[in-house]
Amino acid sequence: MISAALLIIHGLASIVLIGAITHQAIMVWPAKHAEQPQAFFTRLRSLPQPSIYANTVVILYAANFFLGAFLYTSYRVDVRPYLEDTGLFLAAGAFETKEHIAVLGLGLLPAYWLFWKEPSRAGSVTARSYITLLLAFFVWWNFIIGHVLNNIRGLGL
């Protein structure tokens, strides 16, 4: 029961995280041409203090990670043996990538935070963009795999 409640909180927190990091990723995505000032994406990309997102993303990512890591014991004891016994190796393998990607994202957080707080070194703005896009990819990857796995019976996979 506690695991189910934590899993729901994990899912909800990941939705907030995905919103924050996706917005930031859109902001750092290079514009191909001069944008109309009133265009939707122009307004979406222009936050007065984009670095304020950095603290939010770090806290949400860390909270999500530790919730997921705590829930991992339930997965290891109850879910993974079921996946392996029923031959669902695609799902088990996808979850393996999720766990690794989550850790790689955790290790990326100090650099991510640093480049948003102090983008003063040469090349830092470019590095900040790539790090943000990489972190956004991590979050989306884990979100999709987590939800597919969570709903695997309903999806009929």
Binding site: G93, E96, L104, G107, L114, Y130
Partner: protein, 111 residues
């Protein structure tokens, strides 16, 4: 105007984010960990236990190994060395670790 971050902190965070993905990737590839966790009995061991203890989890052991290694590296690497690191490594190293991970885990999908 915000104050610049202390150079010691900048150096430590930069080195941490470079070392962490490398150590974690090497650790899981070689199955090196500081400990194994047995969730059914709720105990940590520095070596593998008989199957009667239930499934072993090495995941936490990899994370702690990578965290401790990266924190130590961040603490001991001199600031002047860290200042000379090319800024592009900060995203190329984790990207390389990610691509390696995705490629390595395709082993699950090969019959």
């Amino acid at each position: 105007m915000t104050r610049p971050l202390p150079s010691r902190l900048v150096s430590a965070l930069t080195v941490f984010s470079l070392v962490f993905p490398v150590v974690y990737t090497v650790a899981y590839y070689n199955e090196w960990a500081l400990f194994w966790f047995y969730p059914l009995v709720g105990e940590l061991y520095t070596n593998l236990q008989p199957p009667s203890r239930g499934p072993a989890m090495i995941y936490y052991g990899w994370i702690v190994l990578a965290f401790v290694s990266a924190a130590l590296a961040g603490a001991i690497v001199p600031r002047r060395w860290a200042a000379h690191l090319w800024v592009g490594w900060s995203w190329i190293v984790p990207l390389a670790a990610t691509l390696f991970t995705l490629a390595y885990e395709t082993r699950w999908f090969q019959g």
